[in-house]
Symmetry: C2
Subunit: 229 residues, 2 copies
């Protein structure tokens, strides 16, 4: 008995509706303050404070205190991955209320998963990078090849800065909608922000939806997918 870690503890942590709403809100990748999370979850500040300290203690959150504000974000990509995994289970077996509403549709097409691009366009990009030899899988480790590095640099990503960081460069993350992987890690984050910088795409405020401009989507196809998709 009792072999392995205490899984119930952290599952229960995620299992409360208020906390789950907060975590889902944090899947946008942005750090949010306690009050913002409170309103997001539809509870008062006192209750939120209690929830947040519990989740922090449980290692689900990263906390940054700034002046009289306290910013919360997901602790790391693994937390985001587990959340996506849970969404996968819930979407399929859950209530079967996968009635693909308009919001759902855009979520499936392109959304932000914690801090990187997910959804159909995210998995497409991931596939293309593999096919063009920019990424190489060996074991679980996902490595950027030399040509991949060159491509990223040319795309406007400051590779030197990324490499100097301690965060893993490339990671896979499973997609609840497409049931395929997309690119996480610091590179995944950098690519998404570069796309925003270029004006290709815009995150919808307070939502995980990522909307590409017409020109941006065209550019995405020609430069990122490059005819491989």
């Amino acid at each position: 008995m009792k072999e392995g870690p205490d899984i119930a503890r952290i599952a229960a942590l995620i299992g409360d509706p208020a906390r789950a709403n907060m975590l889902t809100a944090l899947m946008t990748g942005k750090a949010l303050t306690a009050t913002e999370l409170a309103t997001e979850a539809g509870i008062t500040g006192q209750t939120a404070s209690s929830h947040l300290s519990k989740m922090d203690e449980g290692g689900l959150l990263r906390v940054l205190k700034q002046g009289r504000h306290k910013y919360f974000s997901l602790a790391n990509d693994d937390v985001a991955s587990v959340l996506e995994g849970l969404m996968g289970l819930a979407a399929r077996s859950g209530h079967l209320r996968t009635r693909t509403g308009p919001k759902e549709a855009s979520l499936r097409k392109a959304r932000v998963c914690y801090n990187h691009l997910a959804g159909d366009m995210g998995t497409r990009m991931f596939d293309s990078f593999l096919e063009r030899g920019f990424l190489k899988v060996s074991g679980d480790a996902l490595d950027l090849t030399a040509q991949g590095g060159a491509f990223m640099q040319g795309f406007g990503v400051d590779m030197a800065a990324l490499r100097s960081g301690k965060a893993p460069l490339c990671k896979e993350c499973l997609d609840w909608s497409a049931r395929r992987s997309h690119l996480a890690g610091s590179l995944g984050r950098a690519i998404l922000s570069r796309m925003e910088e270029l004006g290709w795409a815009k995150r919808t405020q307070g939502s995980r939806v990522v909307t590409f401009s017409r020109a941006g989507e065209q550019k995405f196809r020609s430069e990122i997918l490059a005819g491989t998709g």
Copy 2:
């Protein structure tokens, strides 16, 4: 709000200690009866019945009624993956009570993850298969190459039978101890049972530990890893 599936519902399902114990017990891959699961969780049959029906309804379990017995097993590999993911979070951030006891050590070396080989030896095998060109990753899809198929057939796996099944042949599954992938899917299951059949390894009753015989481990190194590790 309320975009995406109802994550709290199923997280709460996993979040109860009794249910979590049952699910952990089912990670051995064996189907267990309701009473077995009840004793495993330390509760009475009545309570267990209630829990089990809830988890079934939530899509976490597969149920097989046989005579006056009712056998429960995990619904699919995705459920197992999420459980492993939760273990990863709990192990690291949880209680930090990752005091590597003797049981923990053997769990890390070789264990069964739902129905396939995990732990150090599992990830080693996965790496070797990639390196030798038996497996190929493209996107999320993990494909068995022609040589891979030949190897498996030679190893004694009935590939025709596997291919005729509807279950996916190859899948990745993240490892909470090694933080790397190992091979899931119907092929992963087949390989493990073939190893048991050959007498290389034996599952410890009621535990997830997989013990290799001295000869079995030797064979494993020469035939599976083949000098690549």
